[in-house]
């Protein structure tokens, strides 16, 4: 996988047009993206020190081991923080307004930035969430979270 998924490029199109953002390549994260398509949250775990890390690298950022296994997460966690987007800022997401973005502490011990699936009402720091998947296309699925 030398290119980002095509839909990521589409998503970034408005930014690309403005010259603001170039999509990047994350081939080391292929099992993550593949897992999302199968509605499984796959996380990289270090075989040596057992710690999970995110975003995915080909090595453990804690102990530098290159022995990484991909493990399916239970997909549960809690909201570390959130923010509610009320104004059109990024055109690609205007149709979602209002929506909450969130930093989620996933129970395996990693932190992910994501979006809350559903209304931002009732979203609060500390609330339990579970993963849900948004299929943008046959080839790109994003992991979102909803209140448990």
């Amino acid at each position: 996988m030398s290119q980002p998924p095509k839909e990521l490029r589409t998503l970034y199109k408005s930014e690309l047009a403005a010259g603001v953002y170039q999509p990047t390549r994350s081939p080391e994260a292929k099992p993550f993206w593949d897992g999302c398509r199968e509605h499984r949250l796959m996380l990289p775990q270090c075989t040596a020190c057992k710690r999970f890390h995110f975003y995915p690298r080909a090595f453990c950022p804690y102990c530098d081991s290159r022995d990484i296994a991909w493990v399916q997460s239970a997909g549960t966690g809690s909201i570390y923080s959130f923010a509610v987007v009320r104004q059109k800022i990024e055109p690609a997401f205007a149709h979602l307004l209002p929506y909450a973005i969130a930093i989620v502490d996933v129970n395996e011990g990693v932190r992910m930035l994501s979006r809350i699936d559903g209304s931002p009402d009732g979203v609060a720091c500390g609330k339990a969430v579970c993963v849900t998947f948004e299929e943008l296309s046959p080839t790109l699925t994003l992991p979102l979270f909803r209140l448990s």
Binding site: P4, L8, L11, Y12, A18, G19, V20, Y21, Q22, P23, T24, R25, S26, A29, F54, Y55, Y80, S81, F82, A83, V84, V85, R86, Q87, I89, E90, A92, F93, L96, Y99, I101, A102, I103, R111, M112, L113, S114, R115, A124, C125, G126, L142, L144
Partner: protein
């Protein structure tokens, strides 16, 4: 101040600031550069080192050619809004090492005309941008929300910092928002990314700024009283906001003590504080991290402290990014105001007897924090 002290000898903004459809960012950079050199009593022929970080890759080269310079030394490290604060340290190091003698640091952008600072492609962005995070404001909103949750900080406490900023801006003829404002008016502004509302955010203006640094020996022969660069501290803690373990504490908690230690001073020695204010919540957190109050007590501290003219702690005496101007990055303008205060040039808003200033630059989504200490000439 010792014989090898490096000084700031000239500072200036571009000829105009605001909404400038007929200027490029490079043109604003050259206006500011020309003005800063004139302020020092120098010409561009005296410059042998150049720092510029906006205008794409090889930004310093682009600027040097445009302005007509053939420098011996270039530098263009880009760490967001803190860049021009960090450049004081690198320029001073270059001068002290003998690579060059007189460094021109120039900045200029036109965000009102849709000119953005191009973001470098980032691996980590694949795991944040598809979710619509609306960075940078979204990142600061996540930070503000967590601070409110963890410490009970309120939007009204954040809002008071706008009120204080306007009190200074009223005394600065160049400031864009000069009308007094109330906490209620700040709270009533429409939400952008909650908990951040419109008036909690800095201005978006076109502007340029520049400063000139040289040796103390040369500085003593120039037009204005030199201002000494006494030391800086840096902290680069993360690149993506979700990678920061405790988002309620910034790298300022590391950079500020380092800067004070290098300057051989304590917070009690500081007469003027120029602290980056992109968002009110970010400013409140930096007040904590710089060490003016304990972590988590920023809300109550802001409520009880007068940061305005004649008050307890002179803060952002130009009106800051909230009320004076904010062209993409405000670090340059923190330096300009601190130098003017230490020279005693600020007229109605002059802090009496200002001897030492603390300048704190914040960059990106909180990722780069650089504190510098400046001192008036002995």
């Amino acid at each position: 101040m010792s014989a090898d002290t490096i000084c700031i000898v000239g500072v200036a903004e571009s000829d105009e600031i605001g909404d400038l459809p007929n200027c490029s960012g490079l043109e604003l950079q050259t206006q500011a550069a020309r003005n800063a050199l004139a302020d020092a009593g120098l010409t561009k022929h005296d410059v042998d080192g150049v720092v510029a970080h906006t205008g794409g890759r090889m930004a310093a080269l682009n600027f040097s050619e445009y302005f007509g310079l053939v420098p011996k030394w270039l530098e263009e490290t880009f760490v967001g809004g803190a860049s021009n604060v960090s450049h004081m340290d690198t320029a001073a190091a270059a001068i002290r090492s003998g690579i060059c003698e007189t460094v021109l640091v120039a900045y200029g952008t036109t965000p009102r005309q849709g000119e953005y600072v191009t973001l470098t492609p980032e691996y980590a962005d694949d795991f944040e941008r598809p979710f619509g995070p609306c960075f940078p404001v979204g990142a600061y909103a996540l930070v503000a929300q967590r601070h409110m949750h963890q410490y009970g900080t309120t939007r009204a406490q954040f809002a008071k910092l706008v009120v204080e900023s306007r009190r200074w801006a009223a005394l600065n003829p160049k400031a864009i928002r000069r009308k007094p404002i109330t906490i209620e008016e700040v709270l009533a502004a429409p939400p952008v990314v909650e908990p951040i509302h419109r008036l909690d955010s800095c201005l978006v203006t076109d502007a340029g700024g520049a400063y000139v640094m040289t040796t103390l020996e040369r500085a003593r022969k120039l037009k204005k009283k030199p201002v000494a660069f006494l030391g800086a501290g840096h902290a680069y803690t993360h690149r993506s906001i979700a990678q920061k373990e405790d988002i309620t504490t910034s790298g300022a908690a590391i950079s500020a003590p380092r800067a004070l230690e290098r300057a051989g001073l304590t917070l009690d020695d500081i007469d003027v504080f120029e602290i980056y204010d992109a968002f009110t919540s970010q400013l409140l957190i930096m007040l904590e991290d710089v060490g003016l109050c304990k972590k988590g007590e920023g809300g109550a501290f802001v409520e009880r402290t007068d940061f305005g003219p004649g008050g307890d702690i002179p803060l952002n005496t130009s009106g800051g990014g909230l009320s004076y101007l904010h062209p993409g990055a405000f670090g340059m303008f923190l330096v300009i105001e601190a130098v003017r205060q230490l020279r005693g040039e600020c007229g109605d808003r002059q802090v009496r007897g200002a001897r030492h200033a603390l300048v704190h630059g914040n960059g990106g989504v909180y990722f780069s924090e650089v504190t510098a200490i400046l001192g008036a000439a002995a």
